[in-house]
Symmetry: C2
């Protein structure tokens, strides 16, 4: 196993009454003037944004607001937020929403503590050294961004979706009320389940010898998200199931399930190009790719896929167990309504030109590799996109 | 499930090179003058204390030292530490050792930020509102105190071993180098394995309906500590096994395995009286009591013991599975060299008077109950001690 750092400072307040803690948490973490950052109309229509504004008003905490975050959040809105926060002298960014809103908030928080262009952190020109404080009221379990060190933004001008990881952007607090997720549409719920499982699958398929306790927790989490996730699709108004999936989303991506090993994240990198090219939901893009990635890389370490099949997918051991585990995952995706190929994802086949463009972007013109279980360069990316396009 | 708060801010630096991070961590967390706090001679003889002193000297960080912490750490040394830190204007407490040293350090840290008697926090007269910062270089995996909100001290004058829980005492950082544990004696290793498993068992046996993901992680952790722990007893110089057990020790008690449910901790409370009465090792005391506690309380919810047997102890399902799981744990304790009764623990039977004294202390003269899976008052405590005394 490898040396590691585990650092999850986010104070999580979880449950039906969690929103009552908003003002104490803002005060604890030094909020002065607050930016309330959110996405489309649902956070307003549900009454959550008006409730938060009223709470801040009652507490005498000044605020400004910026809505309009879209899935695969845009750098352009981050720039707008940075400008607004500087003009209004905002001290604290409060994200109200899911992963896109949190990542947009993290981008703003990085930007207002940096003199250059915040995109420098995403295209590798600079590393962040500071961030304004961010807190979150989570409404969509999926990205795990509420506890992770990750922030992913899309630069629409350049056609690039890029991530930046650092501990500076870890949220100070996360308020999670599962009741806010009871009415999520089925498709969004299934995308979330897929993304949550994938965050730990990306850690499980490592080139390293795993640490026993990390392996055990990672297998336990993936298996439970599969079992509980499928129950939830059949019983979407069940608070207990919603709560379990919501908490799994944080644990799947806060680092816990990858302690002591290198992660892969190749499927994530390949998917970012699908999102950029077609504007698809991240979770759906992951489901469309994973089984093809898995069959392509399985020969690197078949016994790892065998363990996955037995311990996560409940496949009996046998000579075909590894492959049957991948097929079982494909069947799981189908049962929860996820696509398992590019044609199912976008309604047609990708063109050869699109595949080459995605591989070019993902490999940064052939100069960059992704993944670790098997390292993927431009030719391997084209192979996997092509398999997923059948 | 219940609403919960999950807050584990401790920055863990884990692995062979982790000690290299000591000075950056001390600087990050605002150390000025440091108290180096430790136990007996092993931390000095191993070269760790001299190494740390040299590192602080090189970095220009002033320090004072206080050794002499004993297992079941004494309030009297905490008083001495508070006096020393006030006189020397110490800013930061660095614990170098295992749970006893960490808890003694936490006691000092509480005390130097409190005008009254620090024991007030342990006998319930006051609740802590602050603490000086504490960091730890861990050398013994067992207590989980490096990430927990717990601190347990023994007041030898009053014959009381009492705990205080608050987020104020969470360590700022924990440096964990498994190499430091390679030469731990077998008995201490086994006590650690027992304590680690028990910290999650105390959360697993809850009166509440468990949260699916919490249950899955808790079962995974307990099962892995059992399997890896038994391998470690046969192969004590194995770095990978030592590392896994060390990291399990932190995860078993940082709150992860009890999210959404009430914990029990009845066995812990009963054991504290054994430690106080006979000066025994905490882990050994837990092993001497648990199976007797389990058989006494099983009727409250036999299906929980059945799940424990199947998922943690690998017992096949069947009408006797619950009881067989308890017996399997007894056999496990025996295989790793732990006592499974009071006579095995102390070398003779406890007297009736001793049992009544322990029950009096544990129940605070019959005014206090412990546990939640089954609430235990003075009569039930006497029953369990008596069963464990056969």
């Amino acid at each position: 196993m490898r040396d590691f750092v585990y650092y999850t400072p986010t104070e999580v307040v979880f449950g039906r009454k969690s929103e009552d803690s908003l003002i104490p948490l803002l005060n604890k973490y030094g909020a002065g003037k607050v930016l309330i950052h959110y996405g489309g109309g649902s956070a307003v229509r549900s009454g959550l944004i008006p409730k938060i504004k009223a709470m801040l008003d009652s507490a005498g905490l000044p605020w400004v607001e910026l809505g309009g975050v879209v899935p695969n959040p845009h750098l352009s809105l981050v720039y707008e937020g940075i400008k607004l926060c500087r003009k209004e002298r905002v001290d604290f960014i409060l994200a109200v929403g899911g992963g896109s809103v949190i990542d947009s908030a993290k981008g703003i928080a990085y930007g207002i503590r940096y003199d250059g262009d915040v995109w420098d952190f995403f295209d590798g020109k600079a590393a962040p050294k500071d961030s304004a404080p961010v807190g979150v009221v989570l409404t969509i379990p999926a990205s795990g961004s509420e506890m992770s060190d990750s922030c992913v933004l899309t630069n629409t001008e350049k056609g690039q979706k890029r991530g930046c990881n650092s501990n500076f952007c870890r949220c100070r607090f996360a308020i999670m009320n599962p009741e806010r997720t009871l009415t999520l549409p089925d498709f969004q719920t299934a995308c979330g389940i897929t993304d949550i499982m994938m965050h730990s699958m990306e850690r499980y398929f490592t080139p390293d010898a795993p640490m026993p306790i990390t392996d055990s927790l990672c297998e336990g989490l993936m298996r439970d998200v599969r079992v509980t996730g499928e129950k939830l699709m059949a019983d979407p108004h069940n608070y207990e199931l919603r709560a379990s999936i919501m908490w799994s989303g944080s644990l799947a991506h806060n680092g816990l399930t990858g302690c002591g090993v290198r992660f892969d994240f190749g499927t994530h990198r390949l998917e970012h190009e699908l999102s950029t090219m077609y504007g698809v939901a991240h979770g759906a893009g992951l489901a469309a790719l994973w089984c093809h990635w898995a069959k392509y890389v399985m020969a690197e370490n078949p016994s790892r896929f065998r363990s996955f099949a037995i311990k996560v997918m409940d496949i009996p051991d046998g000579p075909e167990a590894a492959r049957r585990g991948i097929d079982a995952m494909r069947d799981f995706y189908r049962r929860i309504g996820m696509p398992t190929s590019i044609p199912e994802l976008i309604g047609r086949k990708a063109t050869r030109e699109e595949i080459e463009t995605m591989a070019d972007r993902c490999s940064r013109g052939g100069t960059f590799t992704v993944g670790a279980f098997k390292v993927l360069g431009r030719p391997e990316m084209i192979d996997i996109y092509t398999k997923a396009n059948e």
